[in-house]
Symmetry: C2
Subunit: 238 residues, 2 copies
DNA sequence: CCAAAAGTGTTAACTGTACACCCATGG
DNA sequence: CCATGGGTGTACAGTTAACACTTTTGG
């Protein structure tokens, strides 16, 4: 491997984020309005250049903090999605983008400061068309999150520190776009060791009426055994 | 987003490959011996710099062809694993690596030409310690492939175009490191639509003795419904 | 007492697993 | 005719899915 650092057209590396949350029972994504060409005035995923002394993960976390104005970004779930490297994806120069997915519980209004002209939460279904290849990145993020809900405890990342099983179920129903049977959902969740743990005496009213729901915290399990499979998206009934 | 192309220390982008295959019933990985510093004389995953006019995927495919001497690399399964971007992973300069996994059926002897001093197939268990952070990349690749066998038809990528169910089962057993019940494996595979399709009259003797096995081709299904789960790696019996 | 939301019980259908058994071939 | 690998049958255990039912709260 021989390489003259300055011999070639340089590559730029960016970290972009698909930040998802659930508001009013629907999936939302954080978008920024671009202030310059190209794609000036278009909406795009937040992100920015990786600095010489930081990893893509670190850059993503920094950008997330800047765009959302969130003070404690350290504990949030941040996952590398994939890298997009087609030569012509940015008309200005060669840009390789490492994309990340972040999941937030009920979030603050985004911070419009820094380099983003404007940042807002947009319902997932009405997002797009976005700048660059961000439509595809966003679709990839949604696919990945939907799949990960099946075999990891990721859904708790959409919930506040203490949550009801009804809220957790809403996460699944919102991301998957399907209704789930409440009794069976409850049993599966509780039967999966390490998914959630009960908060002893706590309870909370959800809709103003009805029986107060018991509260749970996220468990420690990395993967769910058994997994919580979605109801047959296609194919045969089993 | 403002960026002066030449203002910063440039990033280099490489595409590295974890090329896996099964030889004599054990998992092997393709490694090259490094001819220069750093890590001169150490073994490493094959790979190289992404050129200005190609995507990381294209670069990976090109490198794969160069290292293996394989003529038809176009149809092979190549999957992006993840990107490694820690600032100090290469002592010379800032290198961001997009890692790929490739799966080959019974492969040719590798081609020692081009920039790699030497290339050979090494049993997975005896590979390492490798140069840079390649031990971690290789471990990540193994994890990913093991997981993907469960819910995709990926195992057929380890097999020749026409294969027996016994060969397919060996792929699972080799990658997972567990024995599987043959009758049940057969039924699950055949019950999963689109996993494999029968080659009408064909049959082949495998071990010199025994009943000739029917031949199958890879099916068209992207995901397996139902999935072929590994026997409880840990936790509760179900 | 009614509506709404949480939580429990029950049962029938299905799946997964373990293992016994038969088939075809070469030596 | 025996060893070896391919292929079929079967029965029990365990889980899933559908839905009826009870409990607790606010109006």
């Amino acid at each position: 491997m021989e390489y003259d650092k300055y011999a070639h057209e340089p590559f730029a590396v960016t970290a972009d984020l698909a930040v998802l949350t659930i508001r009013d029972g629907t999936l939302h994504v954080l978008l920024v309005e671009r202030g310059q060409e190209p794609y000036k005035g278009h909406w795009a995923l937040p992100g920015g250049f990786v600095q010489p002394d930081e990893s893509a993960e670190t850059a993503a976390r920094r950008e997330l903090a800047e765009e959302t104005g969130l003070s404690d970004v350290s504990g949030l779930h941040l996952e590398q999605l994939r890298t997009y490297s087609e030569p012509d994806r940015d008309p200005r120069m060669r840009v390789v983008t490492v994309a990340f997915t972040a999941l937030l519980p009920h979030p603050p209004e985004p911070n419009g400061g820094s380099d983003a002209a404007q940042a807002r939460w947009v319902p997932y279904d009405t997002a797009g068309p976005l700048a660059f290849d961000h439509d595809r990145i966003l679709a990839d993020a949604h696919d990945r999150v939907g799949a990960k809900l099946e075999y990891t405890g990721l859904a708790t990342a959409f919930c506040p520190p203490e949550f009801t099983l009804g809220e957790l179920q809403q996460v699944y129903e919102t991301v998957w776009g399907t209704a789930l049977d409440r009794p069976n959902f409850r049993r599966k969740v509780l039967a999966t060791p390490g998914f959630v743990e009960a908060v002893p005496g706590a309870a909370r009213l959800t809709g103003g009426r009805g029986k107060p729901a018991a509260l749970y915290r996220a468990g420690t399990a990395a993967t769910l055994h058994p997994p919580l499979l979605r109801p047959t998206p296609e194919g045969r009934p089993a």
